[in-house]
Symmetry: C2
Subunit: 505 residues, 2 copies
Amino acid sequence: MFVPRRLVRAATLSLRRAHTSAPALNSVNAEDIAHFSKFLTPTSIISTLSPQPSPSSELAPFNNDWMNKYHGQSTTVIRPRSTQEVSEVVKRCNERGIGIVPQGGNTGLVGGGVPIKDELVLSLGNMNKVRSFDPVSGILVADAGCVLESLSEYLAPHNHIMPLDLGAKGSCQIGGNVSTNAGGLRLLRYGSLHGSVLGLEVVLPDGTVLDQLSTLRKDNTGYDLKQLFIGAEGTLGIVTGVSILTAPAPQSVNNVVLALPKFDNVLPLFTKAKRQLSEILSAFEFFDRTAYDLAVKHGQGRALNEDETEGAECFVLLETSGGNKDHDDEKLNGLLENLMESDEPLINTGVISQTPAQFSSLWAIREGITEAVSKEGKAYKYDISIPLAEFKHVVDTTREHLRSKGLMRDDAVKHVIGYGHVGDGNLHLNIVATNYTPEIEAALEPFVYELVAKYKGSVSAEHGVGVMKTHALHYSKSDTSIEWMKRIKQIFDPKGIMNPGKVLP
Amino acid sequence: MFVPRRLVRAATLSLRRAHTSAPALNSVNAEDIAHFSKFLTPTSIISTLSPQPSPSSELAPFNNDWMNKYHGQSTTVIRPRSTQEVSEVVKRCNERGIGIVPQGGNTGLVGGGVPIKDELVLSLGNMNKVRSFDPVSGILVADAGCVLESLSEYLAPHNHIMPLDLGAKGSCQIGGNVSTNAGGLRLLRYGSLHGSVLGLEVVLPDGTVLDQLSTLRKDNTGYDLKQLFIGAEGTLGIVTGVSILTAPAPQSVNNVVLALPKFDNVLPLFTKAKRQLSEILSAFEFFDRTAYDLAVKHGQGRALNEDETEGAECFVLLETSGGNKDHDDEKLNGLLENLMESDEPLINTGVISQTPAQFSSLWAIREGITEAVSKEGKAYKYDISIPLAEFKHVVDTTREHLRSKGLMRDDAVKHVIGYGHVGDGNLHLNIVATNYTPEIEAALEPFVYELVAKYKGSVSAEHGVGVMKTHALHYSKSDTSIEWMKRIKQIFDPKGIMNPGKVLP
Ligand SMILES: Cc1cc2nc3c(=O)[nH]c(=O)nc-3n(C[C@H](O)[C@H](O)[C@H](O)COP(=O)(O)OP(=O)(O)OC[C@H]3O[C@@H](n4cnc5c(N)ncnc54)[C@H](O)[C@@H]3O)c2cc1C
Ligand SMILES: Cc1cc2nc3c(=O)[nH]c(=O)nc-3n(C[C@H](O)[C@H](O)[C@H](O)COP(=O)(O)OP(=O)(O)OC[C@H]3O[C@@H](n4cnc5c(N)ncnc54)[C@H](O)[C@@H]3O)c2cc1C
């Protein structure tokens, strides 16, 4: 029944190669700053080149990433207040051949949002207004710089919620979410941004404004160009406005953390939960024992006590949201009873939230893992899609591999942990080390990528490629695909000014 | 709070124009047929040019569209059985500069699937195998030529359903659905194909196979190229395989047809239904009185009797689907009671299905409208997105306009009707005439398109552009957008062989 892949691949050989050599770029100079000053307010320019130079400490938050793993040397950060200003800045950079790094909340985990050298940082934080909201259709139009959490707060009195949610919600911006095609905790229920983003306003690399800010649920008039910018990580243009379909707020939410005696139970548990909770299942998150212990160590986990977690090999956080509390409770209790009653129960125990505070503290365990990891040490983060059944195997194999290299020791790799959005087949494999060292990196790469490729997985399920994985793209994409990505890049950004060195090898 | 659009638009002026003049194309000749015969079985070739020429009656179903409105003069239909065969055929056409029209079930409503002149028709009907299905993730991979309904039947024993459904399900193919970005009856619940299609296999205009047939729910490794082919109506390449996320089959479904005293009640009814049914609301369809009467006249509507429909200005079909019959019934009954009880009820009456047969016959009214219209006469079909509140106004204004032109008479325009997917803001405006005449067309266009543009709507919500609306694209898309579509077309299909004359003006 399968089309033999080999046969088909052969046809790709005839493809001509697109340009790949990146043109040389120029640095921002004092004249550029003088030019920007003509149409920007002084507070929109942070630069060591200004007549009143900013101290470089003011630039540090823009030059270094959330993990403090990637470091740029930008002299200049521009914070425009309107699409028109973005367009003017980009036009200048295009004329002068200056590289631009669009930056949202700078919570990205692959080094995509900070400069590699001294590119200009274009920060969207000053564009943070809601443009419109229609409570009948649920369609929200907002500036790209709106922080995700503030959009959630804006929607709350209108009884709507954002179709995405993630641990970084307090800092990440909707423009950054769109540009990384962020997944997060609600994807299982509300689908990907490719479905829920209805329109975009984008400043292209030559300063042109591409206005596709549709507020229509359906529009089939030609190619859906906006899709190219969803997940382009700022390499094709700057997203300045987003139109997105929000969801009616559920009337009732529940969550529960389940402690599982063994990993093998995750898959049957997922199948059961899908069947019994069906349309009200809104999250199904997994974390292994080590991830849990780290979250507890760094301040989470008040919600569970020791006898509830004893002997558990891993945990699942399960959330329901629906329109009728009685119905939802009945469905969830039905599932839990069914789980406890069976002869060989899939779970040891479960803790169900009874109050909003408990609801939050259960979520805090799962959401706190990323932060706990960063407090514990320096993390190598692999965000991969693989078959659910292989989650544990991949974590164990990686740990074994590091052990065989003699790297599992207190002054090298401290922990290898796995957690993630099981419902989406998405595992976060984190290697927590004392320091980032070439030795550890060499032990991990391409080892991890080859493991992923073996399972026909993705080397980046949701965090994107950034600067971290450009060289690993080929583990998940064919030569033909990469070639066509380069052609797309070439027509939008022939001078290569837009987030240079990111995404494409 | 709004970015002034005019200001922003000004920046687009600097855009260079892409090539627009279409290259001249060649006709299929006897040598081409001889070439195809080398690698295709005889039954895969239907041609008046063969050594054993097919009668032109055999070509008729491929040359004429579902409405019998658009007519081509193709001499040759090719029906490949594998991606490799498609690639070989396309390679030949590319070398020889022969136009290709990809054709699925030929149920499209904008003339996109039939030739304009004598292009070669590449019919996908022989590629109709399911390649794989994973019941845990719900991911289905199928040949592009699989008929939508047969995929639904394939999934039924696995307790899954396709994320889309439409009246043409018995003939339309998944490749055609993807290529038109079909919406249909389940979009409200399961979202658009841009979200649910996970991967595509596409034969590009030079015969290269672009293999993006991912079976991963999440994959953020570079630009999401497959999105360009969703809704490209065969102008960028030929879809040969589709990977799609299917949904768990609901355990319980209900539907009800509600008769409304006046159109103004539709919007408040929709708001109430969304609130009370929330996650189990799976369809909210609208049809006006004339549409209903036509469906009944042509054999539907056994489900309602006269006293139930008397005095109704319009109707709503509402469907729920969920995981627990008791809960769903309770929610739906709660809504109906609430509707009937109020002082000024939003509905006159409602008919709720009690058996699977009744469930089907309620749906048959709504789904039968397209067919009833085609039995009644020749239809001018406008498939538009406009604000829900304007649905009736647009239908009435169009009728009045035709009346003022003296065209509302038995031997010209018989009916002007409105129906559609209210939940998606999508109205099907149909003008049913005795014949297609230039006079009626001139009265309707650009009149209807200007009306749509006035409400910032879309001239094609779901049917696409095809050959019908190329000249109307600019009512919904900016010059910059159209220019960029042309550039995309240019890099994928520099010779312009792929579905020439469609989509782009
Ligand atoms: C604690 C924590 C939890 C996280 N959880 C998740 C998760 O569950 N799921 C997930 O997918 N990710 C997660 N992330 C990763 C990250 O938060 C997301 O990728 C987020 O969407 C990035 O948004 P940002 O505004 O911070 O973008 P930034 O980090 O500023 O930028 C990210 C990339 O997008 C580009 N970019 C930003 N804004 C724009 C714009 N307006 N126009 C064009 N390009 C732009 C940048 O150039 C860069 O390449 C998490 C991160 C942290 C720190
Ligand atoms: C009774 C009826 C009800 C309908 N209801 C709806 C509805 O609710 N929602 C909706 O959106 N549409 C609806 N339609 C329109 C139509 O059915 C859909 O557009 C359908 O998706 C077309 O599929 P098809 O296989 O028949 O494609 P075709 O009609 O054969 O082709 C449509 C377009 O896609 C291209 N194409 C087809 N297959 C491929 C391929 N494999 N690769 C590349 N290009 C290809 C063709 O060149 C053409 O441009 C309806 C039509 C009818 C007759």
